[in-house]
């Protein structure tokens, strides 16, 4: 087993060796500009179109419906701001409380960004992270310009019913955007059957390099470019193409299509073994998120009465890479907004650990984590003033009145 046990694939993934190999020529001999008139550059343009075709095939989209961007965040911003420009008279946006900051913070900054006042509805989620479709339907109005809801949650892996949600929005004449950064490559997606108008992809979440994203824009959807410049991407996104990364993403999508079954059988089985093992061997461990309506690779577990960052540091000593929704790791002083939206109690929210697998993980690695993690939890609990052996947590939380939600 290698020195690093990488179980943080929702943060980023290893670039597949096949992807690296496909990219290499575009860093050296094939350096032409795809927009050039000469054959030398033109051949690069053709390679880009080939890559576009592979990405379109994975999604069930038309190649001309894809716009290359620099990352998932750019795709999200482009989609939402484009919808606002197309319908300047509508000022209501529906989104959810568990969105990635790329959507959440953008929506919360729209007023200052555009100089207009917007009404933002952030839909709540159930305690298992799922969405109430009835609440969603009720939130839509004639003023609603766009709905933006993630396909799969990055922290819990919980899936939203995007097909139904998009169909409802369409029937009301409302544009629909989904941040599918965590879903693409992990679960089958068919845009021919899913009436979304915009869909965001990030390359580095599916074994392509960082610095490449895609925005799917359905044919006929009103569109305004975010980066204005040259005629690249048919005028939909200025800036010279990130050629090597585009070629890499094409290859990664080809691999993802081929490995989709493995992701949903072998990786799912590994995840389940890991999750069941941890939940059964560690007391006061709670699964965060719906058990089945979930990505096959993600497991988010809270270990009560201890703090996530100290768990991560102990795991790190064994080379095990994971992440946490605790305050110390969320970059603020409060647990992650996803844990809070799900109403995970404070006893558990600070001790949440996310393990996210990929096809590169092995059963030996899962066994290694199953061996190392339980003693770490036990050691930290011995140190915790709230863990009293059999006594289930003499909590002091009540004295800290939290005015915020």
């Amino acid at each position: 087993m290698s020195a690093v046990v990488y179980m943080d694939n929702n943060a980023t993934t290893r670039v597949a060796p096949e992807v690296v190999e496909a990219m290499l020529p575009y860093f050296s001999e094939l350096y032409g500009n795809p927009s050039s008139m000469h054959t030398f550059g033109g051949q690069v343009g053709r390679a880009i179109e080939e890559a576009r075709g592979k990405i379109a095939a994975l999604l069930g989209a038309g190649p001309d419906e894809l716009v290359f961007t620099s990352c998932g965040t750019e795709s999200d911003s482009t989609a939402i701001l484009s919808a606002l420009q197309a319908n300047p008279e509508k000022r209501h946006i529906v989104t959810t409380r568990v969105e990635h900051p790329a959507v959440k913070n953008l929506c919360e900054s729209l007023d200052t960004l555009t100089g207009h006042k917007h009404r933002i509805t952030q839909l709540p989620v159930n305690s298992d992270g799922t969405l109430d479709l009835k609440l969603y339907e009720e939130s839509l109005s004639d003023e609603t310009v766009i709905v933006s809801a993630m396909w799969a949650n990055n922290e819990t892996g919980v899936l939203f019913p995007i097909e139904e949600m998009a169909a409802i929005a369409r029937s009301r004449g409302i544009l629909f955007h989904t941040d599918a950064v965590q879903a693409v490559g992990k679960i089958p997606i068919d845009l021919a059957r899913t009436p979304v108008d915009f869909l965001s992809i990030s390359g580095h979440k599916l074994h392509a390099p960082k610095g490449i994203g895609v925005l799917f824009v359905r044919k006929g959807t009103p569109f305004a470019p975010f980066l204005i410049g040259g005629h690249q991407e048919h005028g939909r996104r200025g800036g010279t193409e990130n050629v090597a990364a585009i070629i890499g993403l094409g290859k990664a999508c080809e691999l993802a299509a081929r490995q989709m079954d493995e992701e949903n059988s072998r990786v799912r089985a590994l995840r389940d073994k890991l999750e069941d093992g941890l939940l059964s061997s560690i007391p006061n461990a709670i699964l965060n998120g719906h058990k089945t309506l979930r990505l096959p690779n993600t497991s988010n577990i809270s270990f009560e009465f201890i703090e996530g960052e100290s768990i991560l540091l102990h795991l790190d000593r064994y080379g095990i890479c994971a992440s946490s929704g605790s305050a110390c790791t969320s970059g603020s002083l409060e647990p992650s907004h996803v844990m809070r939206a799900m109403g995970v109690p404070f006893t558990a929210a600070h001790g949440s650990i996310r393990l996210s697998l990929s096809i590169y993980n092995t059963e030996a690695e899962v066994d290694f984590v199953l061996e190392k993690l339980p003693p770490i939890i036990a050691k930290l609990r011995e140190m915790s003033p709230f863990w009293q052996g059999e006594h289930k947590g003499k909590t002091g939380g009540a004295q800290c009145r939290c005015a915020c939600s």
Binding site: C328, M383, C400
Partner: protein, 265 residues
């Protein structure tokens, strides 16, 4: 990570407990004293990140062998120094250590908690103004961000940030006279509405009336000024231009440069 002195002390002479599960970190400190009030044993239990655990461990190592009077002089900076420094956003871990020590001493002496006497400023993390004032004075803090790093106050919902700014000004003013605050944007809503009405009456309305239009103030919500265009302006295609290029510009010049004028529906 191998913290020292983890655990409880049976029949401890002093026990100090600070923080809570909700706050994300908590520390329980146990002290055992000899007949001269010298600390012979110190143990801790901590719920928190690595810095919190390290601060707790450092604290127990530092105070062993000290008399209570000596221990009472230990500051959060001493704890941070013992660890060879802490990242600035983790300084509150050292503050927690110091407060647990104070709580344990108060517990032994049968005194009330010194810092708990103050007014609770940050409800999210239960921080009092006394804690904030002391952190500012001792660590020479200059901004609300630094206050949050040291005490966590203001790091939750953020509702107390204006109050923290006030306390910071008060404490710094005592430390050295500050140049009076001349920042704009210090208007109350009532003052804002009054000024907006004045400008509307004095300049904007007369100008619009010349073209057969009129304007009415509907609401002021933060920086948003909601108005309604009446008369000829109500049907004029250029009304949006009028609103942004003329009304908003005038109000920004004369009331507040962050105002945004919108038409109410």
């Amino acid at each position: 990570m191998n913290p020292r002195n983890v655990g409880q002390i049976e029949n401890a002479d002093g026990v100090g407990e600070v923080g809570s599960l909700a706050c994300g970190d908590a520390l329980k400190l146990f002290l055992k004293l000899d007949e001269n009030e010298r600390i012979v044993e110190a143990r801790f239990q901590t719920f928190g990140c690595a810095s919190a655990i390290a601060s707790s461990s450092a604290l127990t190592e530092m105070i062993k062998g000290m008399t209570l009077d000596e221990a009472a002089k230990v500051t959060n900076q001493d704890i941070a120094d013992f660890l060879g420094g802490l990242p600035k956003e983790k300084m509150h871990c050292s503050v927690m250590g110091r407060e647990a020590l104070e709580a344990a001493i108060a517990n032994y002496r049968g005194l009330p908690l010194p810092m708990a006497e103050g007014e609770v400023v940050c409800e999210c993390f239960g921080v009092t103004d006394l804690e904030v004032r002391r952190a500012i004075e001792e660590n020479k803090l200059q901004s609300v961000e630094e206050i949050t790093n040291y005490t966590k106050a203001g790091g939750g919902c953020g509702k107390c940030i204006p109050r923290l700014e006030e306390i910071l000004r008060e404490v710094r003013r005592e430390a050295k006279p500050l140049i009076p605050d001349q920042r704009p944007g210090r208007l109350t809503t009532i003052q804002k509405i009054k000024k907006i009405e004045e400008v509307l009456e004095r300049e904007i309305r007369p100008a619009l009336r010349k073209d057969g239009g009129d304007i009415e103030l509907i609401d002021v919500d933060g920086d948003f000024v909601i108005v309604s265009l009446r008369g000829a302006c109500g049907t004029c295609k250029k009304s949006q231009t009028t609103l942004k290029e003329y009304v908003e510009k005038k109000l920004r010049e004369q009331v507040l440069d962050t105002l945004i004028v919108e038409e109410g529906k």
